[in-house]
């Protein structure tokens, strides 16, 4: 049903849209090359040094009876993850590998090449992030659109947003022009915490960088802790992206995608008939 009162508003600035799509590309390749790099030593530790006998998480291939299984261990818990983690591949050509070949770049386990991919897109990601930050701070995008207002953080409003989000009811009219408090919180957490954390923990794995900023390595609790946090943060971002994609679909796939390409976002008037 076409709504004659539907209006297109200019929602996303060009810088936001361009940096968003560059991030999609860079983060996808960083994740996939990162999973390949992780395969070179599929175990994580806390502190400065590895405690080889006691990783907090590990992925291995182990014989069990007359077959090989993929095993993921978290602490003392043991999970059979054959086919996905530890041991995977097409029937007849399975191999001992942390993450399956369809999830990694390059698809074959190759530390040298996956590092090339990782560092190339790390630079793209960092430069892209700097542009976003400089323009976002300069033009006030971050302060104006992302930092929650007093009204946003009022408990009643937060609760209201949680309830309506859970019911997959989305704002209409005037309210749809702005991000709601849950969006603001999620986007800020990504832009302010998760993405910078990826860069900083990544840098802390560099022995050259560590000589210049040993205090930062200490802040994360050591190089192996930084590697662990790098891994956990990466999967936090994966979690965000899955939720983000779900919300994109739930609140109008094409409207959302169009707004991130052309900047124009369609708003449906609310009950009062106000055209927003």
């Amino acid at each position: 049903m076409a709504n004659p009162q539907k209006v297109l508003v200019y929602r996303h600035a060009a810088v936001t849209r361009i940096t968003h799509w560059i991030n999609v590309l860079a983060l996808t390749l960083l994740l996939m090359s990162g999973l390949n790099i992780f395969g070179a030593h599929p175990a994580l530790y806390w502190g400065q040094k590895a405690t080889f006998a006691h990783p907090w998480i590990s992925m291995t291939a182990e014989p069990q009876g007359n077959r090989i299984v993929g095993v993921t261990r978290i602490g003392s818990a043991r999970f059979d993850t054959t086919g996905v983690l530890g041991y995977s591949g097409k029937p007849g050509s399975e191999e001992a590998v942390a993450f399956p070949s369809w999830a990694t770049v390059p698809s074959e386990r190759d530390l040298a090449d996956s590092r090339h991919w990782h560092f190339f897109f790390a630079w793209l990601f960092v430069l892209n992030g700097l542009v976003y930050w400089l323009v976002g701070l300069g033009r006030g995008h971050i302060a104006k659109d992302l930092v929650p207002t007093k009204a946003d953080v009022a408990p009643r409003n937060v609760w209201h947003e949680i309830v309506t989000h859970a019911q997959l009811k989305f704002p209409k009219g005037e309210a749809a022009r702005r991000y709601n408090v849950l969006q603001k919180g999620a986007y800020l957490a990504v832009v302010l915490i998760l993405l910078p954390l990826m860069v900083l923990t990544g840098l802390c794995m560099s022995p050259g960088f560590d000589a210049g900023a040993p205090w930062l390595v200490d802040a994360f609790g050591g190089r192996q802790s930084a590697r662990t946090i790098h891994f956990l943060t990466a999967f936090s971002i994966v979690g965000f992206v899955l939720l983000h994609l779900f919300m994109v679909v739930a609140s109008g796939t094409w409207n959302n995608i169009r707004s991130m390409i052309t900047g124009r976002y369609a708003i449906v008037p609310d009950k009062t008939g106000e055209a927003a």
Partner: protein, 258 residues
Amino acid sequence: MTFSTHRRGWLRAGLASAGALVLAACDRITNSSRGVAVLQSAEGLTRRAQRLVIDRKALAREFTPADISGDFRPNGSIDPQDPDYLALKAKAFADYRLVVDGLVERPLSLSLADLRGMPARTQITRHDCVEGWSSIGKWTGARLGPLLDRAGLKPTARYIVFHCGDTLEQTLDGSGQYYESIDLIDAYHPQTILAYAMNDQPLPVAHGAPLRLRVERQLGYKHAKYVMRIEAVDDYRHLGRGNGGFWEDRGYEWYAGI
């Protein structure tokens, strides 16, 4: 319902094949020399950025004896079978001589006793493997800078090459012999030493006996073990397969600061 199910099926198939296409494209880039060259352009950026931001004399973190790893993992060659090396090992390296030559005024041939008599340094540092793990060890050795000064570098010298006694890969052309190279910034760094002791004991064979390089601000593969000869050169392209080191010849970065 059936329409929607069909559509979902198509969508899923579409996404899966798009994903497969992207993966195949990435693999094609990885397998083309031009693609890898573009990706590897990041290495120069990383080296320049690190050299710009970080003090060239900045020291790698040093630790306390309590931090030393009990499970320091040896990697690469751990028990070389090269006949020349076995002959030296059989006599507990009494006949070992470190040769220093190339673009130097006074080529040297140094015994282990000579090396122990040179300006030394002891440091407890973290060894970071390119694979991702770290171990902490205590190293004692002759500082490379004073040793190079004793030989007298010629003005044309730009790199220091370490020729090693181990063959890590059997090849017909001899390119499986381990070697490494560093520039003069790292060669003259105060923590760059030729270690003959680890954790207060003579360097074990698994860790590079009788002599290994410690170049603390780079990854483990730069720390050449079983060092037999040090050569000052103006370029390393004539060595091995031309990339400045055994692992560099197999695709790894020459600048291993990250």
